[in-house]
């Protein structure tokens, strides 16, 4: 459902690395996730997807706005609502991302500058 990040796929990663021929070593770039930002974002994203699609709510002409039937201005209003919801998600995600990255850097003991080198 939420799935923007979270830990649950980690179990999978271990299954994958059993394959001896995989020439990769996983070096986490982010520390463990805190659920709250992901849960909140998930709920907001779900609202942003589900509500504009419930047609019976808005398939009517009243109340009109400047002569434009409800059906039309309501759906265009959701453009702005979705932009607002995603802005909240964006701020939450950016903060959580930064926190997790800082945590990972502290763990690995190297500076961000060293890691940034390709």
């Amino acid at each position: 459902m939420v799935g923007v990040g979270g830990n649950w796929w980690r179990s999978h990663q271990n299954a994958g690395s059993e394959e001896a021929s995989v020439p990769t070593t996983d070096l986490p770039t982010r520390g463990p996730a805190r659920p709250a930002p992901y849960v909140i974002s998930g709920v907001l994203i779900a609202i942003g997807i589900v509500f504009p699609l419930i047609v019976p709510i808005y398939a009517r002409s009243e109340p009109a706005l400047f002569g434009i039937p409800f059906f039309y201005w309501y759906q265009m209003l959701w453009v702005l609502i979705d932009a607002g919801l995603l802005w909240i998600c964006f701020v939450l995600m950016i903060r959580e991302d930064r926190r997790r990255r800082d945590a990972a850097r502290r763990d690995s003991g190297s500076t961000p500058g060293e890691q940034a080198k390709r």
Binding site: R10, G16, P28, G48, A59, M76, V79, L86, D97, Q115
Partner: protein, 563 residues
């Protein structure tokens, strides 16, 4: 000017050449072409000039920031054909076939926000250029990645052809294309496309990125002016919606049913929301959308854009309403053959009710608006061919320079194909193919999107699910018969099998596809059918700009995906 001039235009169906508007269009086209060529030197170091890798040519150096991405994706997703077709649908049959584009481009962005950052991260780590690259790397199955690549190419080709249909509508209204033979008729179109092909070849993705800025500004000016000026001129929205209601509630002699609806009735609710949701899920499976995402500089550029891109949806909504304005204005979109062609509605509305120079700006915006997505689509389709067919299947040791060379050439072939498609075949064929393309591309959703989160699905299950979805979708779309012309591929709506609920065919096909993928995964896991090799790791999906790229050293030139 007023409604009388539109009536006068109706009595003279032949389009006279509008000199002023045509001059404005040509001037803007020349400026854009110059920008396209100059873009080859934009933000590039001298050593990288000539663009000897797909990262440079096909993804613009993978360095676009938030602003350029906003213009690029805006130009990429809201195509000229959208600007032509959505108001045309509103003008013809009203809300269900036209206005669903608004909820479609609203629910699109939560989906993009959710999925695309992860796709960006894993692609950044492994040097993936196409969605099929990711599927190949994730599932270790060449069959599956080839299926995704072929679907992408086949779905994109008619989409490019439709951009030409958009340019053609503009040219018709300007009075061009009425020559005696096929060649002179399509000469302006051919010239426009040769120029497009030339600057895409030299500048790659940088060309549409630069042009998109001009195109978007022009479109915004045209739409804002039209949406303020025209309703005022025709006595407000009340009268406009009244005229639309009168037209839609009249009876269509061919079907005995109303022409359309201004407010959808309960029977079309399911069609309406499935069209919106299915289209939104499909859009970022198209290779040209993924190209736009992967050309960005950092993981969160696309998320920031998901917040600000909806402004385009607002504009699209107003543009859709211009279809109703045209009903009130009495616009008569008569093609060069003397028949009614709804796709001419918006260009004709601008020519009828604005000074010639401003109509020229608006028409140029639409025409240039066709060039941006056409360029990106051809780049995306040729990247798919180069990476997932040429390299994966035939030339596993292709160098970066070879890949770029092949991709550039293929982009020319793709554009030529689209041009021939439009010139030789019926325009309706392009529209049918685009309809099918939307159904097909959604069938790559389970493989791509599930892969971003889990490796639970089995590669063969996904492949068989894909095949089932494609087959059902094609058969169902063929079965839809247009009540007037009795032609097949009459529309995107069909009843769910064994139920009498009409919904978007792509969604039914997608559900079938997903069910088959889940069931067969359980079967293959139980019978221990060997799984593919996963070359990605968990941290790949959260990697950002500046993170250590442990795997990338090994991946791009390393051994390729096994069978």
């Amino acid at each position: 000017m007023s409604a009388e001039s539109a009536v006068a235009a109706a009595t003279a169906p032949a389009h006279p050449v509008n000199g002023v508007a045509l001059t404005v269009v040509i001037v803007i086209f020349v400026i854009v072409a110059v920008m396209g060529f100059v873009a080859a030197r934009w933000r590039i170091t001298p050593e990288e000039r000539g663009m000897h890798s797909l990262d440079e040519w096909g993804l613009g150096g993978r360095g676009f920031g938030s602003w350029i991405t906003w213009f690029l994706l805006g130009g990429d997703l809201y195509t000229a054909y959208t600007f032509i077709a959505v108001p045309a649908a509103m003008w013809s049959t009203g809300a269900v076939s036209g206005f669903f584009a608004v909820p479609y481009t609203v629910v699109l962005y939560p989906i993009v926000f959710l999925l695309m950052a992860r796709l960006w991260s894993v692609s950044h780590r492994h040097g993936y250029v196409t969605p099929a690259d990711f599927v190949g790397g994730r599932y270790g199955s060449k069959s599956l990645s080839t299926a995704v690549a072929v679907t992408g190419i086949v779905a994109t080709m008619p989409y490019i052809a439709l951009q030409l249909v958009g340019i053609k509508a503009v040219l018709t209204v300007l009075g061009l294309g009425s020559g005696a033979n096929v060649f002179t008729q399509d000469l302006p179109l051919i010239i426009a496309f040769v120029v497009l092909a030339a600057y895409t070849y030299t500048a790659g993705l940088r060309a549409p990125a630069a042009i998109a800025v001009v195109k978007d500004l022009l479109i915004y000016i045209a739409v804002i002016v039209a949406i303020v000026w025209l309703p005022w001129q025709f006595g407000g929205w009340d009268g406009i919606f009244h005229a639309a209601t009168v037209k839609m509630s009249a009876t269509n002699p061919a079907t005995g049913l109303p022409v359309g609806s201004v407010i959808p009735g309960a029977t079309s609710f399911n069609a309406y929301w499935t069209l919106a949701l299915g289209s939104a899920m499909a859009l970022f499976m198209y290779p040209h959308s993924v190209t736009g995402v992967l050309s960005t500089k950092s993981r969160n550029t696309i998320r920031r854009n998901a917040v600000v891109l909806p402004i385009y949806s607002l504009m699209l909504g107003f543009l859709a309403l211009l279809g109703y304005v045209a009903i009130k204005a009495g616009t008569t979109p008569i093609g060069l053959d003397g028949k009614v062609n709804p796709q001419l509605v918006v260009p004709q509305l601008f020519i009828d009710h604005f000074p010639a120079w401003f109509a020229g700006v608006a028409l140029a915006a639409i025409a240039v608006g066709a060039l941006v997505p056409a360029a990106i689509m051809s780049i995306a389709a040729s990247n798919l061919f180069t990476r997932n067919i040429y390299r994966d299947l035939f030339k596993p040791n292709a160098t970066d320079a070879e890949e770029a060379k092949v991709s550039k050439l293929v982009s020319l072939v793709v554009k030529l194909g689209a041009l021939l498609f439009v010139i030789i075949m019926d325009q309706a064929a392009a529209i049918n193919m685009q309809l099918l393309g939307g159904v097909w591309i959604l069938q790559t959703f389970p493989a791509i999107v599930a892969g971003l989160y889990t490796r639970w699905f089995h590669r063969w299950a996904l492949l068989i699910g894909w095949a089932v979805g494609i087959t059902y979708g094609t058969v169902a779309a063929y079965g839809v018969v247009n009540p007037v012309t009795h032609a097949h591929f009459g529309g995107p709506i069909a009843p769910i099998p064994f139920l009498n609920i009409p919904i978007y065919i792509a969604v039914t096909a997608f559900v079938l596809n997903a069910i088959v993928s889940v069931v067969l995964t359980l079967v293959f896991r139980a019978t221990r059918v060997p799984d593919g090799l996963d070359r990605t790791t968990a941290s790949d999906y959260g990697a950002d700009e500046g993170d250590p790229r442990v795997v990338s050293v090994l991946e791009p030139l390393g051994p390729k995906v096994e069978a």
